[in-house]
């Protein structure tokens, strides 16, 4: 019998379609893995299941009964528990307080701490969690925090357990511990949904696997038929390379690097977010970096750009003129309340009399050269489409004529036309002899544009490709490369 059935679930956020007609079933007392790239729609789907979002259309059945959840409380009442990717824990509270919050047991007005402690310690022992209930969350390690989240689920008698990227932050030993706990859950008759992108773990634990890509179900398989290579390809999809961008061979002395990182280590919150990283950027070269989000990309960018100063290792810069198109344009890339012109002058030299005429002039230049679609010259950035916003940011950075250009996820949330335009501009800069660093999770983009290409995993560039990129038109070579990349991104080493 099916513990959960998804039927034609669709969910949109504005222009973005997070889930489209998602349908599949989760068997009772099984471990069901839900896999896919970042942005594939896995988390959204689970948040719908847990009552955080409501689907635009489609239904969910729990134990063959159609259910509609208005809030997590409803899901909890149906014995569904979710372990979020970003822990929902209160730093200043003890483990005990965090677990019982919202479902406290009391004697008259006082919380029954004695009973609570006893009950929790029972679970603690049974599942070998090894937690000290008196400790505050701020005092315990990440894997212990996760165990607290697990304890929360046990305390509420969850029968259906959703785990969102549970082993993302665990060491190999902790991962083994975690899967032992999962086994125990299964023995107890619970149903488990595991969101992950770690294929080797999937191989070990899954009973059934569903693959999501761009919000849709693209593949399903049972334990017996599991093939990591197939899964890997299904996750990244078929990559269509663009042939219309010409990369001239740039005759530039490439021995000298413009920026060189040697053995860079950056420590934050107790662990090395960049770990002995080596990277060289050269003139007239596009260096692409790909990896699962959270493996150090943002910190790498911040470091090269100059915002991150407390690191060990060597950073050699032949120039300080670095442009950056950041990954999150709303948060980092622009002042949305300002007009285009006003955003442009922020990087201009200091002026004492900024007239409307001057701003209009700047804006016109950008609008014309970068094909930005605007209702009027003095429109504020907030009202532009994502693609046009990105073009403005692009323009601003390119017009500075700096030696080094960093593009971080430059076409995220951008429509096809703007994307093509931005790509051509990136190539243009490379041809003009600039050093370009391109960070992206879009493999199409990276493989089409990059001269050199590195995979980042847990703060290190684990492998660099350059010659392989030359044969990319060949279908077989391309697939081989993609498989390699897929594995590297999740930590499996390749030859």
């Amino acid at each position: 019998m099916n513990a959960i059935e998804f039927k034609y679930i669709t969910k949109r956020f504005g222009d973005l379609t997070a889930n489209y007609n998602v349908s599949f079933a989760v068997r009772k007392n099984s471990v069901h893995c839900l896999i896919g790239e970042n942005g594939a729609g896995k988390s959204t789907l689970m948040k719908i299941l847990f009552g955080i979002y409501k689907p635009d259309s489609g239904i969910i059945k729990i134990n063959n009964v159609e259910k509609s959840f208005d809030s997590p409380l409803d899901a909890i009442k149906s014995n569904i528990g979710m372990l979020h990717q970003h822990f929902m824990l209160i730093e200043d509270f003890t483990i005990l307080e965090n677990v019982i919050l919202g479902s406290e047991v009391t004697i008259k007005y006082k919380i029954d701490f004695e009973w609570s402690e006893k009950t929790l310690n029972n679970f603690n022992d049974k599942y070998n969690l090894g937690l000290n209930l008196e400790q505050k969350i701020s005092e315990i390690s990440i894997s212990e925090q996760q165990k607290v989240e697990i304890l929360k689920l046990l305390y509420r008698n969850s029968e259906i357990l959703i785990f969102d990227e549970p082993t993302a932050v665990l060491s190999p030993v902790e991962v083994k511990e975690f899967y032992k706990i999962i086994e125990k859950f299964k023995d107890e008759g619970k149903t488990i949904i595991l969101i992950t992108h770690k294929l080797h773990e999937v191989k070990e634990i899954a009973d059934r696997v569903t693959v999501l890509r761009r919000g849709e179900v693209v593949y399903e398989t049972e334990k017996e038929n599991l093939d990591i290579n197939i899964l890997s390809r299904k996750i990244v999809g078929d990559v269509i390379l663009k042939n219309d961008i010409s990369k001239e061979t740039v005759m530039i002395n490439q021995e000298d690097s413009v920026i060189k990182l040697s053995n860079i280590t950056l420590r934050k919150n107790g662990h090395d977010i960049l770990n002995k990283l080596n990277l060289s950027l050269h003139n007239g070269e596009i260096y692409g970096v790909c990896g699962v989000e959270g493996n150090g990309q943002s910190e790498l960018v911040d470091l090269i750009f100059g915002l991150e100063k407390k690191f060990s290792g060597y950073l050699e810069k032949n120039t300080n003129k670095i442009s950056l198109v950041p990954d999150d344009r709303l948060k980092k890339g622009m002042i949305k309340e300002f007009t285009i012109g006003e955003n442009l002058i922020l990087k201009d030299k200091n002026k004492l009399n900024i007239t409307k005429k001057y701003l209009t002039g700047l804006t016109d230049e950008v609008i014309n050269n970068f094909d930005v679609r605007v209702p009027e010259n003095s429109v504020i950035m907030k009202l532009l489409s994502g693609g046009n916003q990105q073009k403005v940011i692009f323009a601003r950075e390119i017009e500075l004529n700096n030696d080094v250009l960093i593009f971080s996820h430059p076409t995220r949330g951008v429509d096809i036309n703007a994307t093509a335009f931005i790509h051509s501009k990136i190539i243009e800069q490379r041809n003009a002899g600039k050093a370009v660093l391109l960070i992206s999770s879009d493999l199409d983009e990276l493989l089409s544009l990059s001269d050199k290409f590195g995979v980042i995993y847990k703060g290190t560039l684990v492998k660099e490709f350059s010659s392989e990129l030359e044969n990319i038109q060949n279908e077989t070579m391309k697939n081989k490369l993609l498989e390699k990349i897929g594995k590297l991104m999740i930590g499996i080493s390749v030859e």
Partner: protein, 346 residues
């Protein structure tokens, strides 16, 4: 004046208009509840304010320090810096101005006046730097630090005044020489006879223009506002946030010291304990109502000046203290109307 007539400006004008109207309505209702005839009260008020040269003069006189202080605060508020410490800052600067004006009386006015401005500006500015540095180095919110500093500065000024500089048995400094007093309007225009309105008013207007220019026409102003809107993006666009915060605090606080010019050099000739009468807080309301636009501050200050003097004028009918109530209503009304207009305009 060049306005970029975008949605934001339209929304602002709507907010301000609705707030003013709302305040009006609430005031009328309040008057009715108190058993007073709103027509008589408001009529008398406006009659007194606009009906005589003296009334007009007094209104403008009371608006002057609000314009000055409001402009200083506007600079801070644009950078999202909640400077609640204007009361302390302006008193520190004004106190020093009164001392400089008295002890450097050997200098000609043409040198003394700038010297007073400079010394007041620096003293107030430095007191403004304290919360700025605490914020930057320790991440402490300027709200609490400026509130605390108000008390500290006022106690300090009180101590220095009473124990060292006060004229015996008074709570004021020595009176400065007549030749350093700023000319009153009544010296040029008969109609303002008897009013303390002086050329500081013109100075205030010029200051407002200067501040407007600084905020909306210079690179500094744009960076100031960028930091106020989005600190993170500013950082990524290469703006030195810390420098901007320090400057905003320094300049904004420094400007508030000029309030002293109006009272000391334009009216009484000395610094007196309590002269500011919570001006530093009223100025917050003035700046808020004007949406931190210095030109708007002029009109907002005028409105508060009308309430201030008008209150005195109708004191027989309804106690002048009602103006404090109305001030409070103005703030709450602009805050709530603003939020609702924001939701409506999206």
């Amino acid at each position: 004046m060049e306005f970029l007539l975008n949605k934001k400006l339209k929304a602002n004008i709507v907010s301000i208009s609705i707030s003013v109207v709302l305040t009006f309505l609430i005031t009328i209702i309040l008057l009715l509840i108190l058993g007073k005839n709103p027509v008589v009260v408001l009529g008398t008020m406006f009659g007194e304010v606009f009906g005589s040269g003296y009334g007009l003069g007094q209104t403008l006189f009371k608006a002057t320090p609000l314009i000055i202080c409001g402009c200083g605060l506007a600079i801070c508020f644009h950078a999202s810096i909640f400077n609640i410490g204007a009361e302390g800052q302006l008193n520190a600067g004004s106190f020093v101005i009164s001392l400089v004006a008295f002890y450097f009386s050997g200098l000609p006015f043409i040198l003394l006046f700038p010297l007073c401005l400079l010394s007041g500006f620096i003293v107030s500015g430095v007191f403004g730097l304290i919360p700025a540095i605490i914020k930057i180095k320790k991440g402490v919110s300027e709200v609490i630090s400026t509130i605390m500093l108000n008390f500290i500065i006022l106690a300090l000024v009180n101590y220095l005044l009473i124990d060292f500089f006060a004229v015996k048995s008074t709570v004021r400094t020595e009176k400065i020489s007549e030749s350093f007093m700023i000319p009153k309007f009544s010296e040029y225009f008969q109609m303002f006879q008897g009013s303390s309105l002086n050329l500081t008013f013109v100075f205030a207007l010029l200051l407002a223009l200067f501040t407007y220019y600084l905020i909306y026409k210079t690179s500094f102003g744009y960076k100031l506002r960028a930091v106020g809107f989005n600190e993170t993006a500013s950082k990524y666009m290469g703006i030195k946030n810390n420098k901007i915060i320090l400057l905003a605090f320094f300049i904004g606080s420094g400007i508030t010291s000029f309030v002293g010019i109006n009272f000391i050099m334009g009216y009484k000739g000395y610094y007196e304990l309590g002269f500011s009468n919570n001006l530093g807080f009223t100025a917050i309301a003035v700046a808020l109502l004007a949406k931190n636009n210095p030109i708007g501050v002029i009109f907002s200050a005028l409105l508060f000046g009308i309430l201030d003097y008008g209150g005195l004028a109708v004191n027989n009918i309804v106690p002048k203290e009602i103006m404090f109530v109305i001030q409070g209503i103005v703030i709450l009304s602009i805050l709530s109307v603003d939020k609702l207009v924001e939701k409506y305009y999206g």
